[in-house]
């Protein structure tokens, strides 16, 4: 049995019988693991966290933590910590008092509280700000204090509900690294919610892609990125080109005989797996294990290190990424180009 165990957890809008927010969801999280729930807004990921915290009641199923059934327990008895997107620091208390709050509620001795708070403030590198009130701190600092406040009571499970979404890009990247470092240092079992795929990919041990109250796919960041199982995951995790079997037949027209061989309903091709070259510079000889096609560039955007092209091949629109090397020349919109994809870069999808 896993450390955290979700057993067919269901939650419905309004009364039972409404549309499901969580649809018989099952999941296990191991001790010390950093698991990210990733999905678009409204997929139920935040609701799942709130159900674990006891802030929202579940309609069916059970949640267990370290062998203890949490399902009907009061929030303050669950021994779980939570960090909110809005920080939710207590405005009438200093940084020190915010971090000490949970310890005081536990009735811990004064000296012990002081020691713990000091250590927590060291971990988040905020010792100098201990006497400040929250509104004097930046968003990033506030979120670090919120993290320390939750960590101080040593919860068995730490939950973070889009903790970085309200911060600007630079701080967000710094805090990603910091949260991951603290999590690993303390061996803290963590459930992290985000809609940002980059965040999920860089921080997690394991990612659960959620859609409409269900988990579409669970796996390591590498597995999820390289081998999406469904069209939804492929579209959500990267900027995958998702093509139907008929569309694959269009691409594979050079091997037209095998057009009927595209069995699964859909395939996913990552943009960086598509090679792009000017239509006239190749001699037309493409490797036998690759599909090749001619098209017209309809758009080119610079993403910094990458150039992203949208290429029109017949009725198909294919996205391709190319390294924005100083030497490479851009293909302007309207240019005729040749695209090549290795056959094993086309990932078959289910459903």
């Amino acid at each position: 049995m896993s450390y955290v165990e979700f057993e067919r957890v269901s939650k419905y809008f309004g009364n039972a019988g409404g549309a499901p927010v969580l649809d018989a969801l099952s999941l296990g999280v191991e001790k010390g693991e950093f698991v990210t729930l990733l999905g678009p807004s409204g997929c139920g990921k935040s609701t799942l966290l709130r159900c674990v915290a006891g802030l929202t009641e579940i309609d069916e199923g059970r949640v267990r933590l370290d062998g203890v059934d949490l399902t009907n327990m009061a929030p303050k008895k669950r021994n779980v910590g939570m960090v909110f997107q809005s920080y939710a620091l207590f405005p009438n208390m200093t940084v020190y008092d915010n971090v000490a709050f949970g310890l005081k509620m536990k009735g811990m001795a004064r000296a012990e509280i002081e020691r713990t708070v000091k250590r927590m403030l060291e971990i988040i590198d905020m010792s100098e700000k201990s006497g400040q009130y929250p509104h004097r701190l930046s968003g990033g600092q506030q979120q670090r204090v919120a993290l320390a406040r939750s960590l101080a009571v040593q919860p068995k499970l730490m939950m973070m509900d889009e903790p970085l979404s309200a911060l600007d890009a630079k701080i967000r990247k710094m805090l990603r690294v910091e949260i991951r470092r603290i999590q690993q240092e303390l061996g803290m079992t963590t459930l992290f919610v985000t809609h940002d795929q980059e965040e999920a990919l860089t921080m997690s041990d394991r990612i659960c892609i959620m859609n409409q109250g269900r988990i579409e796919q669970t796996g390591t960041p590498e597995e999820i990125y390289a081998r999406p199982k469904t069209a939804f995951v492929a579209r959500f995790i990267g900027n995958y080109n998702v093509l139907s079997a008929e569309e694959m037949a269009v691409i594979g027209r050079t091997q037209s005989a095998s057009a009927a061989g595209f069995e699964p309903e859909a395939y996913a091709i990552r943009p960086e797996a598509v090679r792009i070259s000017a239509a006239d510079d190749g001699s037309g000889d493409s490797p036998a294990d690759a599909y090749s096609m001619d098209g017209t560039v309809s758009d080119c955007t610079s993403l910094g290190a990458l150039l992203r092209y949208t290429v029109q091949v017949g009725n198909l629109s294919i996205t391709t990424d190319e390294l924005n090397a100083p030497a490479s020349s851009r293909h302007a919109a309207g240019a005729r180009v040749r695209l090549e994809v290795d056959r094993n870069a086309c990932v078959p999808l289910q459903g």
């Binding site: 915290a53 006891g54 802030l55 929030p75 303050k76 669950r78 779980v80 910590g81 939570m82 909110f84 809005s86 939710a88 207590f90 405005p91 009438n92 208390m93 200093t94 709050f101 949970g102 509620m105 536990k106 006497g131 400040q132 009130y133 509104h135 004097r136 919120a146 406040r149 939750s150 009571v153």
Partner: protein, 294 residues
């Protein structure tokens, strides 16, 4: 060299006419006619001798030494403090429950509060008299059931307090209700997960956060009841020794009028309210400073 130039420029800027200032004229006229002039007149009158021949502080001396007027002041302060505290405590819960209601029910209750907070003066006193007066419905009912021990004496301090509280509660509820929206639901959730029950949350976070709102409301309630005249007058006539009633009878009484002394008492009433406001502002500034500068 440049000095005369800047000097020459300044007056030009000062006299530049802005047409938008015209729009302020009605407002300024109103303030002068109905606020500033009466106040000046009041202060001037309070400094006159009884026969209006010379300026003196005698009226203030009378007001602050006569046991009769001192009693009126303490009575007024007592009933104002009492009714404000009761009003505040009751509305603390009433306003909070308003925030928990559905939109439609809340709107209805707010309308009722709004109406009843303005339902003061003679009509309110009359309503109480026909319900709880000597021949009031409830007095007679309780008498006929042999429960007359439970019928309150409307013409006593209790009765007066009851009537004051009646208009204090809805006013305080209206004033406090928006204050609760300053409390984030997530503070409650965060506190709950850190082991704080509802009581601990309100004691440590909720109340401290709404404290400035509470203090401001209290001052308004206090001023509201210090100045209440018609309600008390209609209920207990001139028999009750309250500051507002004393001022009323000195300025427009039936037997003897002493507008000079009445003005002095009115100035004292105004000063008390200003003092209350100043104390409140001072306390709040201290509190905010603490939370702003650490």
């Amino acid at each position: 060299m440049s000095q005369p130039l800047t000097l020459a420029k300044k007056p030009a800027r000062r006299f530049r006419f802005k047409p938008v200032a015209l729009a302020l004229i009605p407002f300024a006229a109103l303030i002068v006619a109905f606020e500033v002039l009466p106040l000046i007149y009041l202060v001037m009158t309070s400094l006159l001798s009884d026969d209006e021949t010379h300026y003196t502080l005698a009226q203030y001396a009378t007001a602050l030494t006569s046991p009769y007027y001192l009693k009126a002041i303490t009575n007024s302060v007592t009933i104002s403090l009492g009714s404000s505290v009761i009003g505040l405590v009751v509305s603390l819960f009433a306003a909070y429950s308003l925030t928990k209601l559905s939109g439609a029910a809340r709107e209805r209750l707010l309308t009722i509060s709004n109406m009843s907070s303005n339902f003061a003066g003679v009509p309110l006193a009359f309503a109480y008299i026909i319900l709880l007066g000597n021949n009031g419905i409830f007095t007679i009912l309780l008498d006929s059931w042999g429960l007359d021990a439970f019928s309150p004496d409307l013409y006593s301090w209790t009765g007066l307090m009851l009537v004051y509280v009646y208009f204090q509660i809805p006013l305080a509820t209206l004033l406090l209700y928006p204050v609760y929206f300053g409390i984030s639901e997530q503070w409650k959730e965060a506190a709950a997960l850190l082991g704080a029950g509802s009581f601990a949350f309100w004691r440590k976070i909720g109340l401290p956060v709404i404290l400035p709102g509470l203090a401001g409301t209290f001052i308004i309630l206090f001023a509201n009841s210090m100045g209440a005249y018609a309600t008390a007058y209609a209920l207990v006539g001139g028999n009750f020794n309250l500051l507002a009633i004393r001022i009323g009878s000195l300025v427009a009484g039936d037997v003897v009028t002493k507008p000079q002394l009445g003005s002095a008492l009115a100035v004292l009433l105004g000063l008390m309210m200003m003092a209350a406001l100043a104390v409140n502002a001072r306390l709040m500034r201290g509190l905010r400073k603490e939370q702003t500068n650490g």
